[in-house]
Point group: C2
Chain length 169, copies 2
Amino acid sequence: MTKELIKTIFARRSIREYTAEVISEKAIKTMLEAAMAAPSASNRKPWHFIVVTDRQFLDNLARVHPYGKMLSKAPLCIVVCGDTTISARYWVQDCSAATENLLLAAAALGLGAVWLGVYPRGERVGPIRKVLNIPETIVPLNLISIGHPAEEKEPRTQYDEQRVRRQQW
Amino acid sequence: MTKELIKTIFARRSIREYTAEVISEKAIKTMLEAAMAAPSASNRKPWHFIVVTDRQFLDNLARVHPYGKMLSKAPLCIVVCGDTTISARYWVQDCSAATENLLLAAAALGLGAVWLGVYPRGERVGPIRKVLNIPETIVPLNLISIGHPAEEKEPRTQYDEQRVRRQQW
């Protein structure tokens, strides 16, 4: 179990080029199941997911995110949103853990994905809210662009001994 | 690959009771390798990890975290810290993704762990900073209490169709 998990964690890379092949509903569900199995503070689950497969919405997202050009080629974008009415304090952490699960599931499914940061940049949050009709209490944390990979990257760890301390700082 | 990954994701539960058995250095390294393989905004890796195995430090952490009592029995605590000088904007998200990888590695290794939230609660950040000598530019995001499990929990997804929207909100 450990080996397979670590292999998937190392294999997950940011993939920005995709084939035209669509993503199956089964794969979408697997990614969402993984995301929602994440831990959350007091198990409040302050997350929502917008599954975007419509070409016009994808193109609009590509237009409003400064690094989102690949969305005009991607067959799928999942927008991870935080619900500030459920957890004002911990939604960013909880939704980030859910996002990492989603990305790992994508990698395990043989898909390529990339995390495009949105929150806390107001100049990204606002336009994306507008494109997707997201209400004020809900915050788009990121856009996850997903497709069948048309580029390959080597698995890797980025382990750095200098980032590890013992007993105290 | 998908099945094993999903199995680990579902198997990861919050485990707060542990046996007295210590955690091997090899297992600690595997968890840190997993953590540092996480994605981060512009690949800045704004994280540090404090590996605490000294009984006195563990007891002090147990004392200052309101839900940290189990640390007085745990053989290991890993403190995930964000470096605000590396990424003021995205360190919470990046360190949360790293934390989720760490928790999944723990689960895959057959260990039990629980994420104890620290930031953004000042009344937790301050005392923990003091116990571990953490400088002002570094923020303890959480305490991860880890041990060989002495309680069992069923694997689960928390998939909820009501948290999924299509094309737009």
